[in-house]
């Protein structure tokens, strides 16, 4: 489809020209873009000299505002301002409710099971919101590097599952970025740290961001970054610290817990400011309206202790999984803004028995590492030898077996890319189909795992139970994305699926969003798409008119006829304009209202054709 061509890499560069590629840290709270310039990886500033772009998106009726100004508007315009959208990526509505916090949005259901946020511009999926952030960063990069990008490396939390990864890739596509690779954030941080310090040996990366926590254990050997194990919690971060303080204010000030969205936002802003202040002082005065009280660091530490403990537990598990002893870990690198919290640093130091390293700015280290990898992937030669990143899958992948149990096919922390096959058989005589249910997670019961996809292998030849041999193959690529195929070995019957999880976007949704995005893109591609939409509409109108002329009288009653005429008229009007989306929608609507008519026409044609023949002839 012509539409998808926008994601293609730019024109081939001149032989000596450096191919432009960037690393993007798409964070819960803040996002950054970095690139290699004169051999040095550094974050790119905006026109005002700011490198950090708050991950805040505010929808206005006619434009979209991204960054600091949007963030500041959150309390005043909560329904149209989306913060921390990363926490919603790849999640279903039910998961979002399970995040256990009041989110001040109005959610609506979509074509897929994604939560759409109702805004003044209509329902927006988390993927679209993220794409707005990415778009701003892409434009910033193109402006400061002075050319079109070959591609980008986008970082994701190592602990992101398949749907969350897929959603991130979709968002990048939507923002017009060619994704060279999805890279795990701790791995990116390890690259920045390892190259900066010339480090070798076993390193732990403790990454506590705004909304996600990751721990990775890596072995660094002469430019090879081998992830031994990774773990974490994709719903644990600095935001939770803010919520804890906000809860404390509500309790101390005797507020009702049922607050309107604007007040919630306001409280969270106060909470976040208090948290940040407590990094450098032992006590901070918290003011909310007429109410004021002191929050000591001690009290704050107690509030966040359960969350710190959760992160340490994940650390212990990752160390066990990596098969190294705790004292073999030679360095612990702190990543993410939330590692500025003194209690976090202290707890990590206690656990690993060494002071964590905080030399590289914890907000920038991920983007810096991603840019180095992006430059390599774009085909630019690196001084000092090539990099190699060997990553793992964070969560086990498997299949549903009898009794609602999950059978692991690829265990967590297996190095990717990986392909693995498992054989199954039929359990009934003459069974002709088998349902393949793909799952991700560590638990035994499938109800405790995340369902990634279901598909059916059909056409298995009739055999007695247990005679068929069905080989299911899992293949995970270097981005951590999964393909599953199934094949009956005797007959060669085959079925496969590229796992497009139920919480991702359907291809239809992506295509539509890509089209939508052209409305704002303002280049000749828009015109091309509009032209295609007009042509499609024109074709449909002509077909409907011809059908009405031929069979309208005979097959439609007056009301039905009127509905169709109205929709035809509407589309004919729209076709003269330039609103491609409206044309497309109306084309769809017209096609829907004429469905029944088309079916009746087909039916009557078949009947007419059969009228002169006897049953025997039809049977042939």
């Amino acid at each position: 489809m012509a539409l998808l061509q926008i994601a293609e890499p730019g024109q081939s560069p001149q032989p000596h020209q450096r191919r432009l590629a960037v690393g993007i840290d798409l964070g819960t709270t803040n996002s950054l873009v970095a690139a290699l310039r004169s051999g040095l990886s550094e974050p790119l500033p905006d026109a005002d000299g700011q490198v950090i772009l708050p991950s805040a998106v505010r929808y206005h009726a006619d434009h979209v505002e991204v960054g600091q100004s949007a963030k500041l508007a959150a309390a005043g315009d909560p329904f149209n301002t989306v913060l921390s959208v990363k926490r919603l990526m790849g999640r279903g509505l039910a998961d979002v409710k399970q995040l256990g916090e009041q989110l001040p949005y109005r959610f609506v259901g979509g074509e897929s099971h994604m939560p759409f946020i109702d805004t003044v511009q209509g329902p927006k999926s988390p993927v679209e919101v993220s794409a707005e952030i990415l778009k701003v960063l892409r434009l910033r990069a193109e402006a400061s590097l002075g050319g079109e990008l070959v591609g980008a490396v986008i970082t994701v939390p190592a602990y992101f599952d398949e749907p969350q990864r897929q959603a991130t890739k979709d968002a990048a596509r939507l923002a017009g970025l060619n994704v060279l690779r999805l890279l795990n954030e701790p791995t990116a941080a390890a690259v920045a740290y390892g190259l900066d310090q010339n480090a070798e040996g076993v390193v732990a990366i403790y990454d506590l961001g705004g909304g996600t926590f990751d721990i990775s254990i890596l072995r660094l050997t002469r430019g090879v970054f081998e992830v031994l194990a990774t773990g974490g919690d994709s719903a644990l971060g600095g935001d939770d610290f803010d919520h804890a303080i906000a809860g404390w204010i509500i309790e101390q000030a005797g507020l009702s817990a049922d607050l309107d969205p604007g007040t919630q936002r306001h409280l969270l802003q106060i909470a976040c400011a208090a948290k940040e202040a407590l990094t450098d002082t032992a006590s901070v005065e918290v003011v909310y309206g007429d109410w004021r009280a002191a929050l000591t660091r001690e009290a704050f530490d107690a509030l966040i202790e359960p969350m710190v403990a959760r992160s340490l537990k994940a650390c212990r598990r990752a160390v066990r999984d990596s098969n190294v002893e705790l004292d073999e870990v030679q360095a612990v690198v702190m990543v993410g803004g939330s590692t500025r919290v003194p209690r976090v640093r202290e707890a990590v130091a206690e656990m690993f028995g060494r002071q964590p390293l905080t030399e590289i700015d914890p907000d920038q280290v991920v983007a810096i590492g991603a840019a180095i990898q992006a430059d390599t992937l774009a085909g630019n030669k690196r001084d000092g030898g090539e990099l190699l990143l060997l990553d793992v899958i964070p969560l086990s992948l498997g299949l549903e077996t009898m009794g609602g149990l999950m059978e692991k096919v690829i265990p967590r922390n297996t190095t990717i890319p990986v392909a693995r096959a498992q054989d199954f058989t039929t359990y009934k005589d003459g069974q002709s189909a088998m349902m393949i249910h793909v799952l991700q997670g560590e638990r035994e019961l499938i109800s405790d795992c995340r369902s990634l996809a279901r598909f059916e292998l059909r056409g298995i030849p009739a055999m007695v139970a247990g005679a068929a041999k069905i080989r299911v193959t899992f293949q995970v690529d270097a981005d951590g994305l999964l393909d599953v195929s199934a094949r009956e070995l005797g007959s060669g019957v085959e079925a496969s699926i590229q796992v497009k999880p139920s919480y991702g976007l359907t291809d239809g949704e992506i295509a539509k969003m890509l089209k939508d995005s052209f409305q704002y893109a303002g280049d000749d591609k828009v015109a091309r798409v509009l032209r295609e939409q007009q042509v499609d509409a024109q074709r449909l109108v002509e077909a409907v008119q011809a059908a009405l002329e031929a069979d309208g009288e005979r097959l439609l009653d007056a009301d039905e006829r009127m509905v169709i005429d109205l929709q035809v008229q509407e589309l004919t009007e729209l076709m003269k304009g330039t609103d491609g989306y409206a044309i497309e929608q109306q084309t769809k609507r017209l096609s829907q209202v004429t469905d029944a008519f088309a079916a009746r026409r087909l039916d009557s044609t078949v009947k007419a054709a059969l009228a002169g023949r006897n049953l025997n002839e039809i049977g042939e």
Binding site: R317, R320, L377, L388, T414, P417, Q475, D477
Partner: protein, 173 residues
């Protein structure tokens, strides 16, 4: 069984005794050559090939670096049948298995962390002994049955190690 054989991929002769450091170094070297990152702007066909080759390299490495998997692979070389779920007649070991399991259950009931550490050390000693015995007999056709028996013992202890790890995780809650 993969073609070429896992050992050949690493330019090694089939053997149970391996220098793991050297294996790891060779793995990193080979991975450099075939990893999909090297082919980010190559043709789709080459990317596909890199993906497949990396996946088989990873598979080979996983197999060779784990003693039970390596043992099984050696015994299955030359196309011999080696069904996964078969209990080789081994009454002594059956008794020992029951003992291990009982101990593990007790450790769980008492949440005995130092006990678990001791248990892990003993497990490691038992694994080392098995590895030595297997190394001595796997290549002798006359001792084939013994080698298979040892391999299944290794598999059991491997599973037990995994269960200990799960237990540690549960006790960490």
């Amino acid at each position: 069984m993969g073609t070429p054989c896992h050992f050949a991929l690493f330019e090694l002769q089939p053997s149970f005794t391996l220098d793991l450091e050297q294996l790891a170094a060779r793995y990193r070297e080979l991975a450099r050559g075939v990893h999909p990152d090297r082919f980010a702007d190559a043709s789709e066909r080459e990317q596909r090939l890199a993906l497949e080759q990396s996946a088989s390299l990873n598979e080979a490495y996983q197999t060779l670096k784990s003693p039970p998997k390596r043992a099984r692979y050696l015994l299955a070389m030359g196309g011999r049948e080696l069904p996964l779920e078969v209990t080789v007649h081994d009454p002594d070991f059956l008794m020992q298995q029951m003992q291990w399991r009982e101990e593990l259950e007790e450790l769980q009931d008492e949440a005995d962390l130092p006990g678990i550490a001791t248990f892990k050390r003993r497990l490691k000693v038992a694994q080392d002994q098995l590895n030595d015995s297997f190394a001595a007999c796997w290549n002798d056709a006359a001792q084939r049955e013994q080698a298979e028996r040892l391999m299944r013992r290794m598999q059991f202890l491997d599973k037990l190690t995994y269960e200990v790890r799960q237990l540690e995780e549960r006790l960490d809650d």
